[in-house]
Subunit: 502 residues, 2 copies
Amino acid sequence: MRIPLDRQNALPLYQQIERYLREQILSGQLAPETRLPASRQLAQELGVSRITVNNAYAQLESEGLLYSREGSGVYVLPRTPAPPVADAAGAIWPLWQQAIERDDPPYESRATPPRRIVAHPKPIAFTGVGDRREFPIKEFVRSIQDVVRRDGAAALAYGGLDQGYTPLRTTLTHVLGSQGIQAHPDHVLITSGSQQALALVCQVLLKPGDVVLVESPTYNLALELFRVLDLQIVGAPVDEQGMCVERLEPLLQRRHPRLIYTIPNFQNPTGSCLSGGRRRQLVALADRYNIPVLEDDFVGDLRYEGRVQPALKTLDPGGRVIYTGTFSKMLMPGLRVGFLVAEGPVFKRLVDMKRVSDLTTPTLMQRALEAYVNVGRYQAHVRRSGRLYRQRRDAMLAAIRRHLPAETEVIPPHGGLFIWLRLPEGLSCLDLLPLAAEAGVEYAPGTRFFPIPADGESYLRLNFATQPPAEIEEGIRRLASALHRLNRSVVAPAQKQHPSRR
Amino acid sequence: MRIPLDRQNALPLYQQIERYLREQILSGQLAPETRLPASRQLAQELGVSRITVNNAYAQLESEGLLYSREGSGVYVLPRTPAPPVADAAGAIWPLWQQAIERDDPPYESRATPPRRIVAHPKPIAFTGVGDRREFPIKEFVRSIQDVVRRDGAAALAYGGLDQGYTPLRTTLTHVLGSQGIQAHPDHVLITSGSQQALALVCQVLLKPGDVVLVESPTYNLALELFRVLDLQIVGAPVDEQGMCVERLEPLLQRRHPRLIYTIPNFQNPTGSCLSGGRRRQLVALADRYNIPVLEDDFVGDLRYEGRVQPALKTLDPGGRVIYTGTFSKMLMPGLRVGFLVAEGPVFKRLVDMKRVSDLTTPTLMQRALEAYVNVGRYQAHVRRSGRLYRQRRDAMLAAIRRHLPAETEVIPPHGGLFIWLRLPEGLSCLDLLPLAAEAGVEYAPGTRFFPIPADGESYLRLNFATQPPAEIEEGIRRLASALHRLNRSVVAPAQKQHPSRR
């Protein structure tokens, strides 16, 4: 029997023998009732001591893989469960796994269909959340070093309090206060990004089958969360003034949502901002119909013009609105530090759910962030980003006017990261996707953002913050050429077959 | 009207005025229908321009807080929803919040009852997971610096792949391979600590009311997770050889668990190690009864003596066992990087659930950990910790023999972090707790670890890894004196009232 041994390996030889035999037995290479070589013989073959072989045999025996017959030798024990072959090719899964496969939710079939794309050597991506080149990475690492020097091992111990690092919660209330949101540190929960805040709220308030009311379109990963949790998603339309709140009441009466999820500022993906009147109306409706509101303020501090609107949380008469925000979008997405603000019995439940979900958000990240914000670096970074992104928004709007067909519709956003673009009548963002990829430009197709994906076929979401102006100009030019190709291919057969595609 | 203005503040004056008035209106200090000063008058009082005041009034009007009466001035608008006072004293919560309060799960009342404790100036804690003084913090920060230097902004971008940073997954499979566990990087999911792995598995496989089978006692935060998710918890007894698997079948037949959760190595809290035979039997049972197994190997690499037992995952014929581990316990608990290994349809579901739960585990932590492990620092740290903790285990066992009454029962663990101690008949770990705190020693009371907390009244869990030998000696001495006090207080009245407490 040839067993490969590696004498340089830190693993002792008897364990190498054990492991090899174990694998052979478990994989079926060594069939049940096979007689193994006598230990003396195997020791000789392998050039090891007989004790080494005996050790390996004894261990495998204790595991129930081998057994000794008195005076006859050592044999492979027949295995109790018949071992089905489980590999990628013809895996036979246990029944509970097969049930999962059968239950696979239908939403995946609604996602973008796979298409063959010829990759461009240097694509320009209007996707993602920020420009890597602008991450304040050196400054942030300096904050990490400062914290480690100051706090020592505490910087990598558990966070201590369930709600998160107390000085960070206090600092956060100051940042929020400067945005007009009054919050007490005791009502702040630090989360692993605002995505976790969304997940915790759903896990605490909703059960499978419950209805959640959202803007249509809305943040794609919120939709994905709702789908994974088997919630029913009801969409309310969005215009330049945000969610059409005046059309909400019939939906509330007919569908009985258990949660309203909204992004009032520079909405993802439309960029629209909920008007002051609608804000008050929404809070009043939530109060009258006894529905919690989850307010996602993911880039509320990134306003380029216009007046600040009060957060729904500010209008909340008490315990109606759960507010969530994040540092990931403004600083570095890999940071994964967000927070929520809530009052009343639900807050304790959210803290409990957070603790059992992942104990705590990494302490080092919380402490470094607190240090970073507290010396004013965060505020300076937000101001710098605001100036930069505003220029980029203007560059993209100008490029769109210059290069894209006049029938392309765009509403200039007053802040945030996104331009929401409506294609000329009859063109699909999914048909455009492979052509754009070939031309070297990437965007998020509108279908991702709608409860009913097909509703988004006319739309693209462009992130203007990820590229400098020259790249924006070139990217939009590429988009124009892809659109031109699509238009020809659509119009030509359309003229033959039917006068209009819709 | 005196409005405090701060001319050094970055917030423009009109916004400071706005904010002040908004707070006054929302808090009810400015009652509905109150007439505000004319803008000219207020401007004069505050020493600002009239435009500044008009801007503030216009904004508050757009928010629906103020309204103008033609030729008469500006008034506070009556608010649509009657604002109930929501403060800590007499909060009136919306109905959905009141329902949460009513539904509060009963488990909280089962927790340790609050007792008045006189704090010791320098307590010795046999709690927590590791010794802060031994965290390899400098080396880990060096890894962070190396990674930032090498990867730049990518180190703080999103992790990219949903499953986690690919090189870390590959490195992990090498670490697991050296422990006899064969895993492919494609079947590894990086999680935010092993707690998240537990939560994801429950969220994917179980619904409220489902039964989960656990060792009794078991890891307290797993119990807490199961309770928060409204699962029914069924406990199987544990002895020196781990879970009493031969007593499982009647439980499987009567209670139909949907998940078996087990800690085979150096179990938390008992320190016992599941025997080889029981391991094979457990996997066979899980196969026969079609029940997924969650194997929590939280300190499997911390063995001080005895032979390595195969992981259940190694015995799994395919897709039956979900394996989870963590770096938090061995390195630094605040790291929050763990992982799970699974195959089959459930794996994709776990990846989806992870993505919607918090997108990704912080990239910087994943990359720094990969660098740390890959240069061999992790392995060296585990070896060093193993030597250190073994000495501390021996020190604690010796101190227990020296100082505690002979009727105290302890089974020396072969690895891990914990000694599980049974008090002499009739003594309660909860009664001991305040006396121990006064004497200056902390432990985890046994009640925390049992599905039915009262079952744990005779037990304490002592973590021997958190203190150096001298402190261990002193801590156990303090425990002995607390026990002595308790014994006197119990025996004295017991002799008067009833011959035995049980």
